[in-house]
């Protein structure tokens, strides 16, 4: 029986490098304190972390600071990475925990608020794309932070269930539960989604 009939979505936002290649960059950072390797790794994660932190409704200045705090850790602790997990889950996990600390410290509401400001560059190229983007964002804003992040890490960043559990420091079954609830909630708050037509407007 052919099993290729179930299409998957286009490739998520993932690194162009393999985990092994990223580890080689980290090794150059740890052993040679090489700026070029550090810059390359930073570039690989900058957009991904920006997106993830934007989904957490972080303010622009907080996003930059959290990314830089994260890579400060990468620079100072590079030699301590033992490879128990993928490098991506280590880095994203650091950023996630830093973001949680910032949210707690600033007592920001993780939902809604004023996440993104003037110098953002909007990816959707058409008015219709912009409208869909807002529509999706409004739905996502209805989700608790952990559910929203589970969805983001799955659909946008393309992580496996086990990787997400590592990043969020929770059991695999918790990831599944959060995704399940997120999907159910979105179908309620975005009825067109439940219709499955793909026409969201």
């Amino acid at each position: 029986m052919a099993l290729k009939s179930i299409d998957t979505a286009p490739a998520p936002l993932r690194s162009a490098l393999t985990d092994q290649q990223e580890r080689e960059l980290l090794a150059r950072i740890a052993e040679k304190r090489e700026q070029a390797a550090f810059r390359e790794l930073y570039g690989i994660y900058y957009q991904r972390l920006t997106r993830l932190l934007s989904r957490m409704s972080m303010r622009r200045e907080d996003i930059e600071e959290i990314i830089n705090d994260t890579f400060w850790v990468v620079w100072t602790k590079a030699s301590e990475f033992r490879g128990a997990s993928q490098l991506s889950t280590w880095i994203i996990g650091i950023a996630y925990r830093r973001a949680l600390n910032t949210l707690r410290r600033e007592r920001l509401r993780p939902v809604g608020s004023e996440p993104i400001s003037e110098d953002m560059i909007s990816t959707p190229s058409s008015a219709q794309g912009e409208e869909r983007s807002q529509w999706i964002q409004q739905g996502l804003d209805k989700l608790p932070l952990e559910q929203r992040l589970a969805l983001e890490l799955t659909y946008t960043m393309g992580h496996s269930c086990e990787e997400i559990a590592t990043i969020l420091s929770c059991p695999v079954n918790t990831v599944k539960t959060r995704l399940f609830r997120a999907r159910e909630t979105l179908k309620n708050v975005l009825p067109a989604l439940a219709g499955g037509s793909g026409d969201f407007t």
């Binding site: 099993l3 179930i6 979505a9 622009r60 996003i63 990816t123 999907r183 499955g196």
Partner: protein, 222 residues
Amino acid sequence: MSHSGRIPDTHAEAWALLPFLINGRIAAEDREWVELHVQSCEECRRELETQRPLAKEMRDSLPSYASSEQRAFAKLWTRIEASESAVPADEDVAPVRVAGTAPRRTVRWLAAAVIVQAIGLALLGVTALNNSEELRGEFKTVTNGEVRPLGPAVRLVFTADTSMADVTEILARHQLELVGGPRGAGVFTAALADTTEEISAERIATDLRANAHVQFAEPVSQ
């Protein structure tokens, strides 16, 4: 057809794994049985049709800060160099050169640093004259090394375009006094002027980082 390994083939478990079928990260041992289940389950097929466009929209929808990556990295690299050069005391360290920044910028920055240093020296001089009894043994000359401040203190680096007026305003706003620097990479040390204030060095550093003229700010361990 043969199936190897674990084949739960329950609807609930397949349903839970659909997002990973969509993003292509479902475990190899689960893919086959989940795909088989989906082919025979109308509900799961509908769910796939619902989630697939959602996944696409999520990837396509979020704005990004594409323009700020270079600037953000420069800021981080300055912080790293400042931190690493600030550790050994009295070490003569060359000014920070961040990849991608022009030499002219460095010259401007140095000019600003000299001005700021002059302010710091003047402040220290006046303070020492006015309170020589109280501060004896606490303050040394700036060139002799960094003073151990009495209250919360931070190390900070100003951006190249920071004027003397900006520095004065920043120090006043945060009730800080320059007590050391500039050391390698232009790192100044500033301490809370009023030590009776109950504010931590971490808080001061966080507040300073929000200022566009502050390139780097870190609390000093007491």
